[in-house]
């Protein structure tokens, strides 16, 4: 632990809404916490490279065996079977299709389109691509968060890599957001820095921040009003200005000192090619995400694992414990980021092993959310929706038809539950934007003057809701 954080943590104490005690945090106790509110929220968990679903000679290893009501038997042995304990709250979707925009690369088409519903700002730019619009996580945060705060954008994996690393969340056309890599930093950002102090000290801290912020705002406004400023420079200063917030004392959004220290000590593995480290980081991000929605500090979170093609992470073989070839190689079925290279034996099974590890990680999020009670006696998971989705449908072709989306939670009863659906009668027509509109509507975003959100995504895409998934 570095010195400044030690000093910071020394100030913590008193009552707090923390994480529920669950396995991994405290194996000896199991008790729930009560969330501050039950406002609908969305948490997006992103996996790259498709899943090991049926393709060519490769068998189905991901989706449940049967459509309709989810049963343990139908899910057993499939990657989604790892979520069977939550099956009554799941909605597993087939026939979610992306558009074939001219990104020049299947990873870019998936990673940059999945939450934006948009094509590229520049055709055919592949690894240099940028999405041409805002992402749904940001839209939800902008419209529903107190003060229009940004959604949380959290990343686990190596910086850089294909598509520059963290790449799924956009503020607007070509305006890619930076992600927070370190879960402990995400936590510190969440709590604002004023907890654990006595009221007098809190008041002094608030006044110190106000004094500095007054100077910063004065100088930013002066720079902003200087003549001849370009649009880009004005936007840069506007974003800066909007980020300068006076301290709002968060009494509820914090961990006790032991668990804060545990979070910090487990966080340093975030910049790793090791799959265990990477998914551990993702779980810590999920802890922070769950805390954020439980204390009503943020209603939208995007968690990205791995770069645009997750091309450096080596997940571990479940039997040997050894790192497998990097995930992108496995998804290609060859020791190559391209089409050459040695064939990897049983690589569709190895891809499935990776899917299972992602499923277990998603289950961690669902466990966390389910362990919070809401004031009305329900579960926090029922209040919002947690989404595990992919950039691509499958391995080698990195296709855009039948991309797996797994939803958990009904967003307060808006979404169907306990089903494995093939939407729109198994169409291959692009329908991603309808899904994004439905998710936005489910948590409370509305198009101007409309009762629902129905205009999100690129022009020319199918609009309106995906009625199959509405309860």
């Amino acid at each position: 632990m570095n010195r400044d954080r030690r000093r910071f943590l020394r100030g913590l104490g008193g009552a707090a809404l923390g994480l529920p005690f669950l396995e991994g945090m405290s194996p000896r106790r199991a008790s729930a916490q009560t969330a501050v509110g039950a406002e609908p929220f969305a948490i997006f968990f992103r996996q790259a490279n498709g899943v090991a679903q049926a393709w060519g000679d490769e068998p189905e290893r991901f989706f449940p065996r049967e459509l309709g009501a989810l049963t343990e038997a139908s899910m057993q042995g499939r990657a989604t079977g790892e979520l069977a304990a939550h099956r009554s709250r799941l909605l597993i979707l087939q026939s979610i299709n992306y558009r074939g925009f001219d990104y020049g690369d299947g990873h870019a088409n998936g990673a940059l389109q999945a939450l934006t519903g948009q094509g590229p700002t520049e055709p055919g730019a592949a690894g240099g691509s940028q999405a041409a619009g805002e992402s749904i996580d940001h839209r939800i945060g902008r419209e529903l968060n107190p003060g229009g705060d940004d959604s949380l954008f959290l990343y686990a994996g190596r910086n850089r890599g294909w598509l520059g690393g963290a790449c799924i969340s956009y503020r607007g056309p070509g305006q890619r957001r930076s992600a927070v890599n370190n879960p402990f930093d995400a936590y510190l950002n969440l709590m604002g820095g004023a907890t654990g102090l006595d009221p007098e000290a809190q008041d002094r801290l608030v006044r110190r921040r106000e004094s500095v912020n007054d100077l910063v705002r004065t100088q930013l406004n002066r720079l902003r009003s200087s003549p001849g400023l370009s649009t880009r420079d004005r936007q840069r200063l506007d974003l800066h200005l909007s980020s300068v917030r006076d301290l709002e004392v968060q009494l509820s959004c914090r961990l006790d000192e032991d668990r804060a220290r545990m979070l910090e000590n487990q966080s340093p593995g975030y910049d790793s090619t090791d799959g265990e480290d990477t998914l551990r980081t993702a779980r810590l991000h999920m802890d922070v995400a769950a805390l954020a929605v439980a204390c009503a500090a943020n209603r939208s979170v995007a968690i990205q694992v791995g770069s645009g093609n997750d091309g450096s992470t080596r997940y571990h073989h479940p039997e040997t414990g050894q790192p497998m070839a990097n995930f992108h190689y496995l998804s290609h079925r060859r020791l190559s980021h391209g089409s050459d290279g040695e064939v990897i034996p049983d690589s569709d099974l190895l891809h499935h092993y990776v899917d299972v590890q992602f499923a277990r990680t998603f289950r961690h999020l669902l466990d966390r959310l389910a362990a919070y009670d809401t004031p009305d006696g329900g579960s926090l998971l029922d209040a919002g929706v947690a989404v595990w989705y992919n950039d691509n449908a499958n391995g080698p072709p990195h296709g855009r038809w039948n991309v797996p989306w797994v939803l958990a939670g009904s967003a307060g009863g808006f979404l169907r539950q306990g089903q494995h659906l093939r939407v729109q009668n198994g169409t291959r027509d692009p329908n991603l934007t309808q899904l994004l509109n439905t998710l936005g509507t489910a948590v409370g975003v509305r198009s101007p003057g409309r009762p629902v959100l129905d205009d999100f995504g690129a022009s020319g895409s199918a609009q309106g809701l995906l009625s199959d998934i509405v309860a």
């Binding site: 000093r7 074939g100 990104y103 020049g104 690369d105 299947g106 990873h107 520049e122 055919g124 730019a125 690894g127 240099g128 940028q130 705060d149 940004d150 850089r160 690393g165 963290a166 790449c167 070509g174 890619r176 957001r177 930076s178 992600a179 927070v180 890599n181 370190n182 930093d185 510190l188 006044r207 110190r208 004094s211 500095v212 007054d214 100077l215 100088q219 720079l223 400023l229 370009s230 649009t231 880009r232 420079d233 840069r236 200063l237 974003l239 800066h240 980020s243 917030r245 450096s312 990097n326 020791l335 391209g338 089409s339 050459d340 290279g341 040695e342 064939v343 072709p397 990195h398 855009r400």
Partner: protein, 555 residues
């Protein structure tokens, strides 16, 4: 307008493009030549060189934040704080880490707040450092006012206006009341320093300039000092440079050259020159080297680390005394015992890296070294596609049209050698062969004489390797017999030098090159082609009109 988009075709590589006209846009054609300058930097300069678009507010990179705090406040823990800042998102197609669109969002602002508080706390609690900083000041408001001016000139890289001094003194007054556990002067200064580290005047390099006609603005002496210092040292102007800014002598070309030479002579500049090449060559990817133990049982597990060390030592040699041609063609390098084994060198080697000359018949330049070769390889075989893409796009600035989005399953590979396998996979259909046949594979096939760890070989799977090919550079076919021939021809090719100097311009200005940069790039390329050392190329860039100016803001 952008040109020469850098594209990396990692992914499901197939290609539907055909060779097109040269895409670089700035590459010198047959008549390309040096400008008719006055030769004062040894490379000449021209008045028809114009600045490209650049922002007015350029946020410090995280490293620059740390270096500035270290230099001005003598805080040696600043880098640790900056390492904790959230990573910046990457600009499309930009290969360097100082893009011009850096911004301050909520998470970064929160991190700045925490870091500023930590730096200020350390300063006021560090008796010796605080007293050294304030020993000639009265510990009262007048002293605080003087301190605001003194620290402000360093942190803001310019004199502090009276308006800003008063804003800072206001904060000082608040601070005196808000830290009861500290003496009032220390408490006030602490909050004032916190404010200075959150001020936009600190967080942004601000370039406004004065109108100089034709839509161009001349940078002020202070703005020029910052541009120069952050380019060559990644740090704020030191005392001597600030003095040259204060008396505006820096606006005189000979003073600017003199200051640039002084800075270039420092180890700080050597580190920046090294950083440029390491980013250009994507050296961070060396960490992904992972040869199969089954295929290469005798290769050290520490090969990525050793390869990076070799690469660093070689590049230090290049930037110290060499030219771009040295990088491409020198057979000198540095090895330890593990690398000597890969290179097949005879002699006594141990863990220490020592300078050696690699066999003339087998090696030439950095692209025949272990690091680059093993990075662009699968665990078992060379990867001619990605070796080819790298050389073609990044070193020759070829534009490769990208593969279609949905590729059907490809048949199992069939061939006797690695080259045959790749050829059959990528050149058997016209839509793939268009790119692979001329812009990708021939660059990579030239290196088939090096295996997946960079070892030299004459056979592959029992058959003689074929390293011949006809790569395309600047729209022209080259006949090459192998890697060394390719390196020799690239070292003599104007377009390759223009590609290299284009990257220098991008690094210096922190943005993708634009059409306005063409003349500067061409002049530097001609100098590079004539063997100008890397350091003198950098000096020539600084000596150019675009370095001293900026374009009027685009509304």
């Amino acid at each position: 307008m952008r040109y020469g988009t850098m594209l990396c075709a990692v992914g499901w590589v197939a290609c539907a493009a055909e060779i097109s006209e040269p895409q670089g846009g700035l590459l010198p054609g047959p008549s390309g030549g040096p400008g008719d300058g006055n030769g004062s930097s040894g490379v000449g300069q021209t008045l028809d060189e114009t600045p490209g678009p650049s922002p007015r507010f350029i946020r410090l990179t995280h490293d620059q934040w740390a270096r500035t705090v270290e230099d001005v406040l003598k805080d040696d823990s600043a880098q640790e704080l900056a390492d904790g800042f959230r990573a910046d998102s990457f600009g499309a197609a930009f290969i360097f880490d100082n893009p011009a669109d850096l911004s301050v969002d909520g998470p970064l602002w929160a991190a700045y707040q925490r870091a500023a508080a930590e730096v200020a706390t350390r300063l006021v609690q560090d008796g010796a450092r605080f007293e050294a900083l304030t020993e000639d000041l009265s510990w009262d408001e007048a002293g605080a006012r003087q301190l605001a001016q003194r620290l402000g000139e360093g942190l803001f890289r310019r004199p502090v206006s009276s308006e800003d001094v008063e804003l800072l003194v206001d904060v000082y007054r608040d601070g005196r009341e808000l830290s009861p556990d500290l003496a009032p002067f220390r408490a006030g200064v602490g909050l004032m320093v916190e404010a200075m580290l959150q001020s936009p005047l600190f967080l942004y390099r601000i370039e406004v300039g004065e109108p100089a006609g034709d839509g161009v603005r001349e940078l002020s002496a202070w703005e020029l000092a910052s541009r120069l210092s952050y380019f060559l040292w990644n740090s704020p102007p030191d005392t001597a440079l600030r003095a040259a800014a204060a008396d505006e002598s820096l606006l005189e070309p000979e003073v600017l050259r003199s200051q640039a030479r002084r800075l270039l002579a420092s180890p700080r500049a050597a580190a920046v020159l090294l950083d440029f090449h390491e980013q250009l060559l994507d050296v961070s990817k060396f960490s992904t080297i992972g040869p199969s133990a089954a295929f290469f049982p005798d290769v050290s597990e520490r090969l990525p680390e050793f390869a990076a060390t070799e690469n660093r030592l070689f590049l230090e040699m290049v930037v110290q005394e060499g030219s771009f041609e040295t990088l491409l063609t020198s057979n000198r390098t540095f090895v330890n015992a593990a690398l000597a084994d890969v290179y097949g060198l005879q002699g006594d080697f141990d863990d220490t890296f020592v300078p050696v000359e690699l066999p003339d018949a087998e090696r030439r330049g950095l692209f025949t070294h272990v690091g680059w070769l093993a990075t662009y390889a699968t665990p078992a075989d060379p990867d001619p596609i990605h070796r080819g893409v790298f050389l073609s796009e990044r070193m020759a600035c070829n534009h490769i049209t990208l593969p279609p989005g949905d590729i059907p399953p490809l048949p199992d590979p069939d061939g006797r050698t690695n080259r045959e396998l790749v050829e059959k996979h990528t050149e058997s259909t016209p839509e793939c062969a268009g790119c692979h046949g001329a812009l990708i594979n021939p660059f990579g096939f030239a290196f088939e004489s090096y295996d997946a760890v960079g070892g030299y070989r004459t056979e592959d799977n029992g058959f003689a390797v074929d390293t011949s090919g006809t790569p395309v550079i600047d729209g022209r076919l080259l006949q090459v017999s192998g890697a060394m021939d390719l390196m020799d021809q690239m070292a003599e090719n104007p377009a390759v030098h223009a590609c290299y100097t284009q990257h220098w311009v991008e690094y210096a200005f922190g943005r993708v090159a634009s059409t306005e940069d063409r003349n500067l790039i061409e002049r530097l390329a001609q100098a590079s082609l004539e063997g100008t050392p890397v350091r003198d190329l950098v000096l020539a860039l600084i000596d150019s009109r675009p370095f001293r100016t900026r374009v009027e803001d685009d509304q």
